[in-house]
């Protein structure tokens, strides 16, 4: 690998997380504006999410419960920063050919682990309950999610995200070829983002916001950053798998990401909350059934 390639790669590795974060901020704004409209409010101004994060980082009182608490937040943010390099953007592939979609999925588990460790050190039972529910929720939505990943990988014959985009550019969006899988993917996305009716792990009134109970200052700021990254990553991954990754054009890509994210957000604000076992039971039935049906179609036609 010569010097120009190395320089280009370094630039991409810096740019991709930065862009992801920025787009994520706007996705947070989108979420809050949609929520506001559905609740007949105006909603926050344009740069509110960024302002919130700056406020958190700049607070005077920053309480930590121990070194693992700190490391947990570092892992939560750092994991996502690293994951962005594996998720291709229009014009930038980053390290997507050194690690495929399976690696990306595992990278997305690292922030959750970091958060879990940090919350554990906080020693607040509300937080631990929240993590317990979050992990249980993971058992729920991950199964249809990996079914979808399997189906998509089988259909394209590859687990390399760059190749998947290329194939969709040649042959058309995955959405038309794998409609059932796309729906199942959208449903599992609802669980992955922790949006109502699947936000049991937060449960603000019941367990005092769960994992966030002892987070303040830059710790809460870190969680906000993580949320921005999470919204972007979910949307971008879905767009890459099913919508051709924007066909290599930034406007199309951004539009796809925002539309894809708008769907769970709109659904979310209209629902109350499922209990944990209801969530598991629901996920193990309908999205799984759809996903398996989708795989059957994909593998036999």
């Amino acid at each position: 690998m010569n010097l120009t390639n190395l320089a280009a790669l370094a630039a991409e590795l810096l740019l991709m997380p930065l862009l992801a974060f920025s787009i994520g901020l706007f996705l947070v704004l989108l979420m809050r504006r949609i929520g506001a409209r559905l609740q007949r409010r105006v909603g926050p101004p344009f740069f509110q999410p960024l302002a919130d994060i700056v406020k958190f980082y700049a607070k005077e009182t920053q309480i930590s419960h121990g070194l693992i608490h700190d490391i947990g937040i570092v892992m939560a943010v750092g994991g996502y920063v690293a994951a962005e390099a594996l998720l291709p953007m229009p014009g930038m592939n980053g390290l997507a050919d050194k690690g495929d979609v399976l690696t990306l999925i595992y990278f997305l588990m690292i922030p959750s682990l970091g958060l879990a460790l940090g919350v554990g050190q906080c020693a607040n039972p509300n937080g631990s309950i929240g993590i317990s529910r979050a992990l249980t929720a993971m058992v729920a939505y991950d199964i249809p999610f990996v079914i979808v990943i399997f189906g998509v990988a089988w259909h394209y014959g590859t687990t390399n995200l760059v190749d998947m985009i290329a194939m969709q550019q040649a042959a058309g969006w995955g959405l038309w070829d794998m409609p059932l899988l796309a729906v199942a993917g959208l449903l599992s996305l609802q669980g992955m983002l922790g949006k109502q009716p699947f936000e049991i792990y937060v449960a603000p009134a019941e367990i005092a916001t769960g994992p966030m109970v002892e987070m303040g200052g830059k710790y809460m700021g870190g969680l906000f950053v993580m949320q921005a990254f999470q919204l972007y990553t979910a949307g971008a991954l879905y767009a890459t798998l099913f919508l051709g990754g924007g066909d290599g054009h930034w406007p199309t890509f951004l539009l796809q990401v925002f539309v894809v994210m708008a769907i769970p957000m709109s659904i979310a604000f209209q629902f109350p909350r499922y209990r944990t076992e209801q969530m598991i039971s629901w996920f193990w039935r309908w999205p799984v059934a759809l996903g398996l049906a989708g795989i059957a179609l994909v593998m036999h036609f």
């Binding site: 997380p17 390099a85 594996l86 682990l113 317990s132 058992v139 002892e214």
Partner: protein, 623 residues
């Protein structure tokens, strides 16, 4: 005198030293050094690992009953021997020093433990070196009995479970003996070449009987379903370093047996040809699915455990299922994944068992509901457990991720969605279970009675830290271990995996751990920078916690530990029916009933009348 002879002699010396001096804690260091010496002797045979040599024979060979017994090392033997000796070395190092003294002080039989460990190692080396089916059986029996001795050594509750293990193990041994005798009767010889030739000529019925007999015989040692009930408690009740050794490698001897007999001698093609009527499954699928269910069921049994050792022991059974799935896939990626998992699993499982033992040593309990918050008192032990659980869960950057990635990748390429989902279910169960382990032990509230405990001593920390360094390095550079696996695949007749130092380079989605781990740590670096860019933080007292207006005091126990996953258990709690436990009890009752019947016959009151009746019957039969 071949290098293999040197290894055997060293092993016998270790056994002798353990017998003579094992009960003195001071001798533990010498024994650990001897195990290190055995590793060096093994390293002398590293030609087997690089593929330069295919076989190193041992000098002794006998002929009994017309059968030639010989011993030799090849690629697979070297690989498994490395893991065995590494686990033994770590366990022995752990035992030498404070743990041994403490064990002795509490009335444990340290000498018996040392002897049992050395006997296990020697018999495993003998098993791995077998050059024909008869010496394989002899080694298998010796190893089974040695494991029995190791499980017994703690006394008390352990004896009951060791006895249960014995029954299972002997049942498996009888299946193997029957298969062996049948092969001897048909082929006249138990040399590997003759056996392979026999397998090629069998009718489906005969082949099925043999395959099932061998799978059952070896599978019982691996605790494959439905023979899984003995291993969890039996390994958990073995004294600490013993359980680390057993968990790391003992069950994998069953996998070795399956590799030698079913994969190499019988061949996966034969297994493909054995169809199960009325389904589209064959014997290979059957074994793969047995592996899948072995992965899922024991993992979810582990979720319910609240004793740390039992939790780890049940996970051990589950991870064996991964290895079987990988091996049964039979192609380069899958089999490499399965074999790599044997190595990876041994490293982090040994570390986890050792750290749990260290916690028990300091706090006196392994009950997850009675621990908590130890990270402030035992930070290095926390680090070991953290690396261990990341490995066990299969997350990057540790080595567990690579072997799981290989298996997943292979399942996708070969188009097996249901198996893929089954393995993912297993992984998810593992993740939730290991988080509970680390949360209940090291995170959360520190108990009053544990305020004064200290970090584990260096004699215990050193082997644990060494193990996690190996876990990380082999995660960073999996090519190192994949180099050793290539000759194993070649020797077993499996396709060899093309790999690089960092992983595999596939055209349709590969893995390069050097880049991946580098990326991860770069991300962590950025995260750290962002963190430090914020305002200064300060540390607060653990009791300074949001409690809804209440004051927290040290006597108030607010650590969330018991019934950690109530939501999940609400749903799946009713699925734990214990059917196989019922089956076990039913078999024992049936045996009791039959035994009572036979005893009654012996006690019959009128022997002469009975004899008359028998004579009449005999005459009738004759005429």
């Amino acid at each position: 005198m071949t290098p293999l002879d040197t290894l055997f002699i060293l092993s016998a010396c270790t056994l002798a030293v353990a017998w003579a001096f094992g009960r003195r804690p001071a001798a533990g260091g010498l024994i650990a050094v001897l195990y290190g010496g055995q590793i060096l002797a093994l390293a002398k045979m590293s030609g087997l690992a690089s593929g330069a040599l295919t076989m190193i024979a041992a000098s002794p060979s006998f002929e009994v009953l017309g059968q030639a017994l010989s011993w030799r090392f090849d690629g697979p033997a070297w690989f498994f021997a490395l893991i065995t000796l590494g686990a033994a070395f770590a366990s022995a190092w752990f035992m030498a020093g404070e743990w041994g003294e403490g064990y002795r002080r509490k009335g444990g039989r340290l000498g018996l433990l040392q002897v049992a460990l050395a006997l296990n190692v020697s018999s495993m080396l003998l098993l791995l070196a077998s050059g024909d089916l008869l010496s394989l059986f002899i080694g298998w029996e010796l190893m089974s009995w040695a494991s029995f001795l190791l499980m017994l050594s703690a006394g008390g509750v352990a004896v009951r479970w060791a006895f249960k293990y014995l029954i299972y193990a002997l049942g498996g041994a009888m299946a193997l003996l029957g298969a062996l005798a049948w092969i001897h009767a048909q082929a006249g010889s138990l040399q590997y070449a003759a056996v392979a030739g026999l397998f090629a000529t069998l009718s489906p019925g005969q082949a099925w009987t043999l395959v099932l007999a061998f799978a059952a015989g070896f599978g019982i040692k691996m605790a494959l379903l439905p023979f899984h009930l003995w291993q969890g408690p039996a390994y958990a009740e073995t004294p600490g370093p013993g359980s680390a050794f057993l968990g790391a490698i003992s069950s994998r001897m069953g996998l070795f047996g399956i590799l030698v007999v079913l994969v190499h001698l019988a061949g996966l093609d034969l297994l493909d040809r054995l169809l199960i009527p009325f389904t589209h499954l064959d014997a290979r699928d059957l074994l793969g699915w047995v592996g899948a269910f072995t992965l899922i069921v024991p993992t979810f049994i582990a979720v319910r455990q609240h004793d740390a050792r039992h939790l780890l022991a049940w996970h051990g059974i589950g991870q064996g299922g991964y290895m079987l799935i990988g091996v049964m896939q039979g192609d380069a990626l899958g089999s490499a994944g399965g074999l790599l998992h044997v190595f990876n699993y041994a490293t982090y499982q040994a570390a986890l068992f050792l750290v749990v033992t260290a916690v028990v040593h300091r706090t006196g309990t392994a009950d997850l509901n009675k621990l908590g918050g130890l990270v402030t008192r035992m930070p290095l032990s926390f680090l070991v457990m953290l690396v261990g659980i990341i490995g066990l869960a299969g997350l990057p950057p540790m080595n567990g991720f690579v072997s799981k990635w290989l298996i997943y990748r292979d399942l996708i390429s070969s188009g097996r969605p249901l198996m893929f989902v089954a393995t993912v279910i297993g992984t998810l169960g593992t993740i939730i279970s290991v988080y509970k382990l680390i949360h209940n032990t090291f995170l959360g509230q520190l108990r009053m009675e544990h305020e004064d405990i200290r970090e584990a001593p260096w004699s215990m920390l050193a082997p644990m830290l060494g193990l996690i360094v190996i876990v990380f390095l082999t995660g960073l550079m999996p090519g190192l271990v994949l180099d050793w696996i290539a000759p194993v695949q070649a020797a077993l007749g499996l396709p060899v995996l093309d790999h690089s130092l960092g992983g595999v380079d596939l055209p349709n989605g590969g893995l390069d751990m050097l880049w991946v781990v580098g990326l991860l740590f770069a991300g962590f670096g950025v995260g750290a920078l962002l963190f430090l860019a914020g305002n200064r933080h300060r540390y607060v007292h653990p009791l300074d916690n949001y409690a809804g207006g209440h004051f927290l005091t040290t006597e108030v126990r607010y650590h969330y530990s018991d019934d950690f996953y109530p939501g999940l258990m609400h749903l799946i709690g009713g699925w734990y029916r214990g059917s196989i436990q019922w089956l076990e009890r039913a078999l024992v009752s049936a045996l009791d009933f039959l035994a009572q019947w036979s005893q009654a016959w012996f006690r019959s009151a009128q022997p002469a009348l009975w004899l008359l009746g028998v004579t009449v019957f005999a005459l009738w039969w004759v005429v």
